[in-house]
């Protein structure tokens, strides 16, 4: 009896496997699926940066869920777009953030309209850290002080990296000054510089009054004593209030969420006109080759939905000071397009 039971189970499970195989066979006939080794290129060349970190959190889980080999390669924006252009089979995917369309809005060479040229995949996370800082002994206490000062004809220099995420806050600020103090906005001057270290250096050298930075990179600087020439102070986080509210209560380093909330709207107010405040969340999302099969788009959407439902990914993201932000590809595309339109207005206003 025992034997036959075993046999029965064997037959049963074999049947089950066969049924599953049939099922997946049918699914494959309907829609293309990812197969083989998958390479996820990112728009940054740094393996220590937020894009890589985000991509690896998501891709590791995606690979496990789908049972595929997936690898994140930090090839940089220009190469990533080119690699993606060449492969429509779904073996190459890309992860990048708002820079991908902001670069286009700012007319940076090498950036095309992503909504036209690519399929937008799901959003995965937000880095809420985009910040503006002043030296700790700066006469400007708040962003309002800066807006006032510029409105009164003072020149304020802001160190940014031109043509994207680092510039958008500056543009919005300039736009706000143009609205509140028309004609004075040109007193807000961009100091075009490169990496975070270059921006910090401009502040130490007195070549800039305000710098773009991030909570992650600059938090420790804000905790230095005032007599340290490296000491800085946050004046503005561009993230939405609702975004920061989702962060862990401990915040980052020794700056708590509550402290961070002091620097976001509505406490800091950068108007876009018509009672609307400017905010900017740096969002990470997938980009696909336009010709890639819809089946793969759905496959990734479904897999990510399952992963986010399961819930452990959120923990990993929050621990790394990222805000989980999953939207399936169609919603993401609409949302990001709308986001771009708003920033497009700002940029065209001030030019």
């Amino acid at each position: 009896m025992l034997l036959s039971k075993k046999t029965m189970m064997g037959v049963g499970s074999a049947g089950l496997i066969a049924a599953l195989a049939m099922h997946s066979g049918i699914a494959m006939a309907q829609d293309a699926q990812m197969r083989g080794n998958i390479r996820v290129v990112i728009g940054s060349t740094s393996t220590g940066g937020d894009t890589y970190q985000n991509a690896s959190i998501v891709v590791d889980r995606l690979a496990e869920h789908l049972g595929l080999n997936m690898k994140v390669d930090a090839v940089g924006a220009s190469s990533a777009f080119r690699t993606l252009d060449r492969d429509s089979r779904g073996n190459t995917l890309m992860i990048f953030h708002d820079q991908s369309y902001l670069g286009h809005l700012y007319g940076v060479q090498g950036y095309d309209d992503i909504f036209e040229k690519y399929t937008i995949g799901p959003t995965i996370a937000i880095n809420p850290g985009n910040a503006y800082l002043v030296a700790k002994d700066s006469p400007y206490e708040t962003l309002d002080d800066i807006i006032e000062a510029v409105g009164n004809g003072e020149t304020v220099r802001v160190a940014i990296q031109p043509g994207g995420v680092s510039e958008i806050g500056f543009s919005a600020l300039k736009n706000a000054i143009a609205i509140e103090h028309p004609g004075q906005e040109d007193n807000l001057v961009a100091v075009n510089t490169g990496s975070q270290s270059d921006k910090n250096q401009q502040l130490f050298d007195g070549q800039a009054d305000v710098i773009n930075g991030s909570v992650q990179a600059n938090e420790q600087y804000t905790r230095l004593p005032e007599d340290d020439q490296k000491a800085m102070r946050f004046v503005w986080l561009t993230a939405r209030q609702g975004t920061i509210e989702q962060a862990l209560e401990e915040g980052l380093g020794q700056t708590t969420r509550e402290q961070l909330l002091e620097y976001v709207e509505p406490n800091v107010d950068v108007t876009m006109g018509e009672d609307e405040n400017f905010t900017f969340d740096k969002e990470f999302f997938f980009l696909y080759n336009k010709e890639m099969d819809q089946g793969i788009v759905d496959q990734i959407d479904e897999a990510l939905a399952a992963i986010y439902d399961e819930g452990s990914i959120q923990e990993a993201q929050l621990n790394a000071f990222f805000i989980p932000d999953f939207n399936p590809s169609e919603e993401a595309s609409e949302y990001l397009q709308e986001k771009m339109t708003r920033y497009e207005e700002i940029i065209s206003n001030i030019n």
Partner: protein, 144 residues
């Protein structure tokens, strides 16, 4: 800001050409100097038959030189082509490398003895496979 003799203002939109322009002038100046002081006397010497032109006037093992060049070019080209058939597995690198190492070894081998050939063949199979296994498999480096 100081003004006067040394003052300069750089337009951000064209700032990518500022430094290259300076370099072009320096290059041009140096080139002219070299033409006068080095190349002219050299050409005179060539005319008198005391010296020969580089590259053109030299003896060369044409077969091995151009063979090397062609092999490397074909190697790079085919690696990408074959690699594209097996996306991101590194097989393009593996297969084409085996062929390349084999052919280049044969190109450079002067005396085709049996023993030498065996070593060449073993090397051509083992070296790329080892490199592929360690790098692509163990360290998951993306290879063509």
């Amino acid at each position: 800001m100081e003004s006067g003799l040394f003052s300069v203002s750089i337009d951000f939109e064209t700032s990518h050409l500022f430094f290259p322009t300076i370099i072009h002038w320096i290059l041009g100046g140096l080139f002219a100097l070299i033409l006068i002081t080095k190349v002219a006397p050299f050409m005179v010497a060539v005319k008198r038959g005391e010296r020969t032109l580089p590259i053109i006037g030299e003896s060369r093992d044409n077969f091995r030189f151009f063979g090397t060049f062609a092999l490397i070019a074909a190697y790079f080209y085919l690696m990408a082509v074959v690699g594209d058939l097996f996306p991101y597995t590194g097989y393009g690198f593996l297969f084409v490398s085996i062929a390349f190492v084999l052919l280049m070894s044969l190109l450079y081998l002067h005396e085709w003895t049996k023993k030498a050939l065996v070593i060449v063949v073993i090397n051509a199979v083992v070296a790329p496979t080892l490199a592929w296994f360690v790098l692509a498999k163990l360290f998951t480096i993306t290879l063509p």
